[in-house]
Symmetry: C2
Subunit: 213 residues, 2 copies
DNA sequence: TGCCGTCTACTGCATTGTGCAGCAGACCAT
DNA sequence: ATGGTCTGCTGCACAATGCAGTAGACGGCA
């Protein structure tokens, strides 16, 4: 049982789903907490059935069939044990930051583009969450009694997205002052930033004095 | 060639490394942009050698030997092509958020503990970055001419960590008002939050009026 | 002098997870 | 009738992880 298995099991505890529905639901709701591939979402319920935590049966509509999964009593027990295990370390993968670390291998333009790509990706997610919230106000939540959880979850997403967007703007302002990506080293501006960070202060919030790099 | 391959190739372009050194360096510098397992860091340079992007030779110190890797001209060319490819989508995995989404399966205590675990994990990373910045001020950067890149990168980390820490505090305040994890649904407080989010406004920054959930 | 613990320096293997290609029915528009 | 999109999956190759195991180097300490 991996964390992904428990994620699927938790969905099955809400109601029964077909494999396809699980992939759609995971796309809509789990994506921002626990992004997993469509492929895995088809595989996990099969594993749950093999372990006795779910049952499956085929539903036919005309010439087609689809697999419907339901949680079992053992599945509910297993879910309960998960709730008081240690969570895994958070994991954040942002290729744009990797490009930034090695930006001296490319041009200012390359770096600028990488920032733009991050902005676009985050922007999409940002818009999706805002629209989701609007849909809760307009049409309600698919599981109304769970609205408070989805909304508190969404506050996290919005804070994150706004922070990343603000940082991108900040990074652009910094980079605009760079003549090139290379060999700038520990110039006065970088030293000022380092000093702020070493004192755990945010360079974004601070007043910006005359620039000198 | 995966993104991880390019990450290792970029390290090799800075200087030659042994397999072990690569795992240490990745732990120190790449970890926050592109977290990869020690195991992979041993495998990747072998793949680069097979592809002709690196060479390897054994160095002996007494009875021991270690593999030293160096980039080739083809490797440098390959690196250059990477710089203007599209970056991958950012990917953020935080199990605590998954626990929050399904918090109605457990107790307030379970949720509280999950938040504490996230706080601890982020706190460790946060401290590590602050110390790293202090070390840049005190002893300098291992590649001085690249200091400006590391520091701009670090501004991202600090912003992220601060945001997550602020959110955890906010989430705790919200949860403190919950009698239980279940069935709260769309109460007045949640509706107020949803409205803010649907208008893309931060609930953390806003004045908090009298609470009513 | 011998033993323990920690650091260096990896490798093999089982398992998890991803991406892509492929297959096929349903339904709609042109 | 033809093509396009959505539903609804499966197989396969490959990427990546975690863990166990191996082994030399080095310092401390009893």
């Amino acid at each position: 049982m991996t964390t992904s298995s428990y994620a699927v099991l938790a969905l099955l505890d809400l109601r029964s789903w077909t494999g396809y529905e699980l992939t759609q639901q995971a796309q809509r709701s789990l994506r921002y907490a626990w992004p997993k591939s469509e492929r895995l979402l088809y595989s996990e319920p099969k594993k749950l059935v093999a372990l006795g935590y779910a049952t499956t049966h085929k539903e036919k509509s005309g010439n087609r069939s689809r697999n419907v999964y339901e949680i079992t009593a053992e599945g509910r027990e297993e879910l309960a044990t998960w709730m008081n295990t240690r969570t895994q370390e958070p994991r954040i993968e942002i290729e744009t930051l990797l490009r930034l670390l090695f930006a001296d291998h490319g041009s200012i333009d390359d770096l600028s583009r990488a920032l733009g790509e991050l902005e676009a990706d985050i922007g999409e997610h940002h818009d999706a969450i805002v629209e989701l919230m609007a849909s809760y106000l307009a049409g309600g939540h698919p599981f109304p009694e769970r609205t408070h959880l989805s909304v508190l979850f969404a506050t996290f997403q919005i804070e994150m997205f706004k922070t990343i967007e603000r940082w991108i703007e900040f990074a652009r302002e910094e980079i605009d002052e760079w003549p090139t990506t290379q060999g700038l080293g520990m110039n006065p501006r970088t030293e000022a930033l380092t000093l702020l960070l070493a004192n755990d202060r945010s360079p974004l919030a601070s007043e910006r004095g005359p620039r000198s790099n």
